[in-house]
């Protein structure tokens, strides 16, 4: 199988697509575009894909309905709805681009409109898990194809010719026999009267005719607004009579307010009111922590007012959480047997008889998301109606939670999604929007709740802390015959259910039980770990610690056997095959294994591609070293080579990064490259600096001075990205997250190559200076 070759044929896409006819809806209001005609095509489909994805199993599934997603105005302007949240991945451009491609719309005449939160109407909107393109490539094509078919039918009727004789081409329908043409705008009114295209008639374009998809270099729709300050993020929403609020929250998760003195705060110019905010006991999913809000005429006054509050807290049971002590607990747990979550052969016996056993114990601390835009939300609650404006990844989930929190019907809640100034998983949790809703209800006025950077660090849903312990048993020839991996980390499930101590299936499936190496004796274990703060998902989630441990261990095995890192890695991956771990109901990023198997041919391919393009084995200067790592996550395959330079004083620089990604069929390579470039920065940030630590139950870091991230002067010299060209018979897979996990282990393998020092504990910090 050659994934580099250009597609010879297209399996599935060329087939007509089955669409299920559902009852007509009577109102054609659609997008609410003034003067626009919305195409009347009640076409809905939930599982009519050329290949199966997990999209239909997501809450509210998929809606394929051009009437919901597309409007054509008489002047020819085509408005396409973006129902997923834009946090920097480019999804607000990519998904509408797919519709435009398929309907033959001219992209320069397309306007993108952001959908509000309504999953019944739009289908699942939870922008998370690197799912948008993978779940919506085919539905968006179907929507575009339906719209195109109706425009063609309308033109054929007007000309009195068979529909088979007309064709939509670049914003017009043409009848080539007579040379007649009609623009989309001229056809809009008639097309709106057309009924559903017949199931047999709905055909998707031949990819050889694509104008935009896979071509790259399509700029994001918000580019001009972003560069001129017009782009609207959560904090940029301003309503008449709006108040500004900043909240003091319990410094320890689960803590409670004992008393507060508002007097000094009320004396600050601009401060209007001090009031309590309702909190929920921990854990309570995304419910607010409670505390004291300072309401003011501007954010500056509210912050100054909060600083002046006198507050007394009861820290509660988590007041003893201490990162130094907890690390010891995790390490001890990793040295004892734990819940077995994958077992093949007999790892215990094989480790006993092995010629050599290599043990690696890897520690990764909590990480904070610190998106550049701290959490913020505006709410306007009037009676039993609520309207929210917020940078949320899951507007549908936010709508549900606002309705529950205020005790009003979900239909009475409108959630407007602004641009997100970064998300990385933090903005899937809508606690900040719930706070705004509660305050607005009580004040009877619109309110903006602004989190400061300190609030963001102190009250994040943190990436978990973990110890990953791997024991690899080698025979006399150096072949790995046994593999035991114990992963100990507080689970995200602990944010949803008190006392959860074992990883959820989706956490196990992220680099632990799906480990793809060809080894006869494998044991994966998950000892208990209790949570003492809010644990949440952070870009790439459990793949970060697992890939770090597994790929660092590959480097350790290479070093112990005196072999090349890349050759060691390929030997461990083994033969090209489909890996089927002995795990019951194994989680596969929510995708069926038939469409998304664990395919070691593809894993090998990205290793070989990055080695070739990234010039693996090249001679590097003294003090430099090369490291490599590969990881499958979010059903994509990705390999990274990092070159480091370490000077006499232990100062680290990264002259070059090379990454190869196979994400199956893709849409906009320009944005894939930007995601992978960014992932290298995030990977370097977490490897070099990333650590949130607790003392007396409180987060010790406050801002970007003590929770550091990579800045330009220490960013890689050059980052090259190689995308495996679209293999047409391969479904699309994730891009937003997969770039992060292989970076840190590739970096540490490179540091070992440069210095002979093996870094097992993150972050790197000053370890090279010692």
């Amino acid at each position: 199988m050659n994934f580099i070759d250009k597609p010879a044929k297209l399996r599935g896409f060329e087939k007509s697509i089955r669409v299920e006819k559902v009852s007509r809806r009577s109102i054609l209001k659609g997008l609410g575009v003034t003067g626009g005609f919305v195409l009347a095509a009640p076409v809905m489909s939930r599982q009519a894909f050329a290949y199966e994805t997990g999209a239909g199993k997501m809450p509210h599934g998929v809606v394929v309905d051009p009437r919901v997603f597309v409007a054509v105005a008489p002047d020819g302007t085509v408005t396409i709805l973006a129902h997923r949240a834009e946090m920097g991945t480019g999804v607000r451009t990519s998904l509408p681009l797919i519709v435009a491609e398929e309907m033959e719309a001219d992209w320069s005449r397309v306007k993108v409109q952001q959908a509000h939160g309504d999953e019944v109407k739009f289908g699942n909107q939870d922008t998370d898990g690197s799912r948008s393109t993978r779940h919506y490539l085919i539905p968006m094509r179907q929507i575009g194809a339906s719209a195109r078919a109706m425009l063609e039918q309308a033109a054929a009727k007007r000309w009195g010719v068979p529909a088979t004789e007309v064709k939509a081409v670049n914003h017009e329908v043409v009848h080539s026999a007579s040379g007649r043409k009609l623009g989309f705008g001229e056809l809009a009114a008639d097309a709106a009267k057309e009924s559903v295209p017949s199931v047999e008639g709905l055909k998707l374009k031949d990819p050889k005719d694509f104008r935009y998809l896979t071509k790259g270099q399509v700029s994001i729709v918000d580019l001009h607004d972003i560069t001129t300050g017009k782009a609207r993020y959560g904090a940029d929403v301003r309503l008449p009579g709006m108040k500004y609020a900043v909240i003091a929250r319990p410094p320890v998760t689960g803590g409670k307010l004992v008393k507060f003195d508002p007097d000094a705060a009320l004396k600050i110019p601009g401060v209007e009111k001090v009031m309590q905010v309702r909190g929920w006991p921990w854990p309570s999913k995304f419910q607010p922590l409670g505390g004291v809000a300072v309401i003011a005429r501007n954010t500056g006054a509210a912050i100054k007012g909060r600083d002046a509050l006198k507050l007394t807290w009861d820290d509660g049971a988590n007041g003893k959480y201490d990162s130094v002590a907890y690390r010891k607990e995790l390490e001890e747990a990793s040295r004892k047997p734990g819940l077995v979550v994958r077992q093949e052969g007999d790892a215990d016996a094989a480790l006993k008889t092995a010629d050599k056993v290599i043990v690696g114990e890897y520690y990764l601390p909590h990480l904070a998301h610190v998106s550049m835009e701290p959490p913020v939300a505006v709410a306007d609650v009037k009676g039993d109606k609520a309207e929210i404006w917020a940078p949320v990844q899951s507007p549908g989930g936010t709508r549900e939670d606002v309705a529950k929190t205020l005790g009003i019907p979900e239909g009475n809640v409108t959630v407007n999604v602004t641009l997100l100034g970064g998300g990385f998983g933090r903005k899937s949790k809508c606690d900040f929007a719930l706070e705004a809703a509660l305050l607005s209800k009580e004040l009877g006025a619109p309110v903006k709740v602004q989190w400061t950077r300190e609030d963001d660090l102190h009250h994040d849903f943190l990436h978990t802390v973990s110890v990953e312990r791997i024991e690899a048993g080698l025979d006399k020839s150096g072949k790995v015959i046994a593999w035991r991996h114990r992963s100990v980390a507080p689970t995200i499930a602990s944010t949803f259910a008190a006392g959860a101590k074992h990883a959820a299936p989706f956490e196990l499936g992220m680099g632990l039980v799906d480990m793809p190496f060809e080894i006869a004796n494998i044991s994966c274990e998950n000892p208990e770990a209790a949570a003492f703060t809010r644990i949440g998902w952070f870009r790439s989630v459990s793949n970060i610690p697992r890939a770090f441990a597994v790929q660092s261990m590959v480097g350790e095995i290479a070093a112990a056997t005196g072999r090349d890192q890349k050759e060691t890695l390929l030997a461990l991956i083994g033969s090209p095959r489909i890996v089927k771990p002995a795990v019951k109901d194994m989680w596969n990023y929510g995708e069926p294994f038939d469409s998304y198997p664990i395919d070691t041919a593809r894993l090998r391919k990205v290793v070989e591609l990055v080695a070739e393009k990234g010039e693996w084995g090249r001679t590097v200067a003294k003090g430099h070293g090369l490291g490599i790592a590969v990881h499958r996550s979010f059903v994509s395959y990705i390999a990274t080579i990092v070159e480091v330079a370490v000077d006499d004083k232990g100062k680290l620089t990264v002259p070059r990064v090379d990454t190869a990604i196979d994400c199956g069929t893709y849409v906009n390579p320009e944005r894939i490259a930007s995601q992978i470039e960014g992932a290298a920065i995030m990977g370097l940030s977490l490897a070099k600096y990333g650590a949130v630590t607790f003392k007396d139950g409180k987060v010790e870091q406050k801002n970007f001075d003590d929770f550091q991230v990579i800045r330009m002067d220490e960013s890689p010299g050059i980052t090259n990205v190689y995308i495996v060209p679209p293999a047409p018979d391969t479904p699309p897979s994730g891009v937003g997250e997969p770039g992060v996990p292989p970076f840190a282990p590739a970096l540490m393998n490179a540091i070992f190559a440069a210095t002979g020092k093996r870094i097992r504990n993150l972050p790197l910090g000053k370890q090279l200076e010692a």
């Binding site: 500056g300 641009l419 950077r453 995601q675």
Partner: protein, 150 residues
Amino acid sequence: MIKVKINGQEQSWDGDPDLPLLWFLRDEAGLTGTKFGCGQALCGACTVIVDKEAVRSCITSINDVAGREVTTIEGLHPNGDHPVQKAWRQVNVPQCGFCQAGQIMQAAALLMENPKPSHDQIREAMAGNICRCGCYQRIENAVHLASTGV
């Protein structure tokens, strides 16, 4: 009464003189292009140009800029076609875009002071502006492009 010229327009303020310029711009003057990222001059998201110098508006009080001229992203160029803005678009710099106004203002101030910065000078001058999405490679390329003519 504090008077300050913002993007060529006279503005006045008779509230707290210690109010950070950032919040005056965003909440009082409605100029929301300037962003809040840290409040401690650690991230550069709030960068504006005062006279000809890049400053962090989150730690600069409104009183500090009394009688001076403040330029925000909204006032950098009437059509948004400052060479830095054009270069930014040509290179497709932004991901989420939130830090970009600050990055652009910092880059514009750098080029005013040093029209042909070297690779190292760009990396040093821009090091105060954090981009969590990690657009640094493109930012660097865009500043270089702006300095050599878009």
